[in-house]
């Protein structure tokens, strides 16, 4: 590589690191907003105010108010809880189901492995968003139901990656050594295989958070996602955007701000995933 290319490469890496830090900072800020929502805002997310309906941004209402006079900034703060809970919760459920499945499949090998992978192939070909909608009808259209339904359709990716990694790790000399000195299966998996497959799994985890946030907010927007208007926890950003969508012609700010919140959150997680992949899993590029 020439000297100019090296300088170019260094500059690129610096830029990527800056983006990674920026995304991390944004995610941290959103998380804090979710936790501290009651402290950060003097208003209640459900606090109706007569006579202050559909106001634009002002000093007392930073992002304006909605059709019922509720402070939009407050509602977005509380909405962060919904998006993050759904995103992280879904990713964790998918991680647990998928990694266990992939681990068992890859470690056992043989006919059980091919049977389990045949099942994964089929699940992978399902139209996941539609199955998710039907599952959430069954499990209830609240945060817990949506979270579980999303987790149940998105574990396959983890299963495939975990299995692939286990197959590779199984061939390493030190695993063979551990087996030779009579280590139990559990010990081999916990001590020797899991630490080796953690990197790619973590990268997949990071990418599945924005995917879940996107799925949840999209479905809430079209009215098939979370439908829990009396929840104390907060209203989904997708539902907020839906409120704004109906009034977009005259009051575009009501859809703009929830939209920006969704967009920047997803963008940050994607940049975080890219950065983590560069660090943890350079081959997976």
């Amino acid at each position: 590589m020439s000297r100019q290319n090296e300088a170019e490469e260094q500059r690129r890496q610096r830029g990527q690191r800056a983006l990674l830090l920026l995304s991390l900072a944004f995610i941290a800020a959103v998380t804090l907003c979710g936790f501290l929502a009651p402290l950060l805002s003097p208003y209640s997310p459900a606090g109706l105010q007569e006579g202050r309906i559909l106001e634009g941004p002002s000093w007392s209402h930073w992002l304006g108010t909605d059709g019922l006079g509720r402070d939009l900034f407050t509602r977005i703060l509380y909405g962060a809880r919904v998006s993050l809970t759904v995103g992280i919760g879904t990713a964790l459920i998918a991680l647990i189901i998928g990694s266990l499945y992939g681990l068992i499949s890859g470690y056992s090998g043989g006919p059980l492995d091919s049977l389990l992978m045949r099942i994964v192939d089929v699940v992978y070909s399902l139209p996941d968003l539609l199955i998710f909608i039907l599952l959430s009808l069954l499990l209830g259209r609240n945060i817990a139901g949506v979270l579980l339904a999303l987790g149940l359709v998105s574990w396959v990716r983890f299963a495939r990656i975990a299995r692939g990694q286990v197959l590779q790790a199984k061939e390493f000399v030190y695993v063979e050594g551990a087996r030779a000195i009579g280590a139990s299966h559990l010990r081999i998996i916990m001590r020797h295989i899991l630490p080796n497959i953690a990197g790619p799994i973590l990268v997949t985890l990071t990418f599945s958070i924005p995917a879940a946030i996107l799925a949840e907010s999209t479905l809430s927007f079209i009215g098939l996602g979370i439908n829990d208007p009396y929840s104390e926890w907060g209203t989904s950003w997708g539902t907020l955007a839906q409120d704004g969508w109906r009034a977009m012609r005259t009051y575009p700010h009501i859809i703009l701000f929830p939209g920006l919140a969704i967009f920047f959150t997803i963008l940050s997680f994607n940049y975080l995933g890219n950065g983590l992949r560069d660090i943890l899993d350079p081959k997976g590029k």
């Binding site: 170019e8 089929v122 399902l126 039907l134 009808l137 069954l138 999209t218 997708g238 967009f263």
Partner: protein
């Protein structure tokens, strides 16, 4: 080759059967039903309705009736639209959704090839970085937000295109761009890195050493060898278009299958939900089969297996 295709075909059939069964049983065990009203219907009426749709029979009878119906091309009655059955609704709405999907696919291919080539040609320059930045935005922006933004800008503010109608070119522009944006961004990414990979190959160095023009090397050697990775993602891409289409149809009020799916879920019109899910799956599976075929056709290494 033939064995490979038979295997893929069997897989496709299994997927269709799984989806048919899954939707059937999921909706079967979901509490509440399509005939629950605010004001309870009289028991005689409910009994009549149940008898009409065979809901009074044990579930295995209903299940086998449903499966035999599918095999015969009958997707059952619609609970909501009494004068039409599910097959009629699909026949009316599928062409709309399919043309939207094909427009969007064409849009993304037409946009991503020049962008991918330019970004690869001017690699690591500001042009390249700008293309990558736009592509990252395109991947991260949710479809419904992009749709709302395009409507606000081009329809409400500038008045260039119409939104909320379907049937002519002008009103198809914004939905096509909305649905095609994410695939276009993704394909540009992919093409750029595939072309860059190919440019590092020995035969490209040979071509350059022969004194061929850079454009010849780029188009003839690099581009044509970068098509295989593009082919492999056409399957998942179609999946994205299919699921994306019902959001776009909702936002732009396009009378396609996705919009009927959404209202069917709200109305709990179970046969319509099952039918549309099955047709969507068939589209997905069919697209994947096609990709497998093309793939084995273009890459001799697959054919040999």
């Amino acid at each position: 080759m033939v064995r490979f295709l038979i295997k893929r075909l069997l897989h496709a059939l299994v997927v269709l059967w799984v989806v048919a069964s899954l939707t059937f049983f999921l909706l079967h065990i979901t509490p509440g039903g399509p005939f629950d009203r605010e004001r309870r219907l009289p028991p005689e009426v409910l009994a009549n309705v149940a008898a009409k749709y065979h809901l009074d029979e044990p579930w295995w009878n209903q299940y086998t009736r449903y499966l035999t119906g599918i095999v015969q091309g009958d997707l059952g009655p619609s609970y909501k639209y009494l004068d039409r059955n599910v097959r009629d609704i699909v026949a009316d709405t599928l062409p709309v959704s399919a043309s939207l999907g094909i427009f969007a696919l064409g849009f993304s291919l037409a946009l991503s090839f020049p962008v991918g080539l330019i970004a690869a040609y001017y690699r690591n320059s500001w042009t390249d970085r700008f293309c990558l930045f736009i592509a990252t935005l395109g991947i991260s922006v949710p479809t419904f937000i992009l749709g709302a933004l395009l409507i606000w800008l081009f329809s409400l503010q500038l008045g260039w295109f119409q939104a909320g109608r379907w049937g002519d070119i002008n009103s198809a522009v914004l939905p096509t761009a909305t649905l095609g944006a994410a695939p276009a961004a993704y394909l540009s990414y992919l093409l750029r890195s595939a072309i860059l990979d190919t440019l590092g190959e020995d035969f490209v160095r040979t071509a350059r050493a022969k004194g061929l023009k850079e454009t010849t090397v780029l188009f003839k050697h690099a581009l044509s060898n970068s098509l295989i990775p593009v082919l492999t993602v056409l399957g998942p891409l179609t999946a994205g278009l299919v699921t994306g289409s019902f959001v776009v149809e909702y936002v732009f009020a396009i009378p396609g299958m996705g919009r009927f799916f959404i209202t069917a879920v709200t109305d709990r019109d179970y046969p319509l939900i099952m039918g549309v899910t099955l047709v969507y799956t068939a589209l997905l599976v069919g697209a994947n089969l096609l990709v497998d075929l093309l793939y084995s056709f273009f890459d001799p290494r697959i054919k040999a297996q």
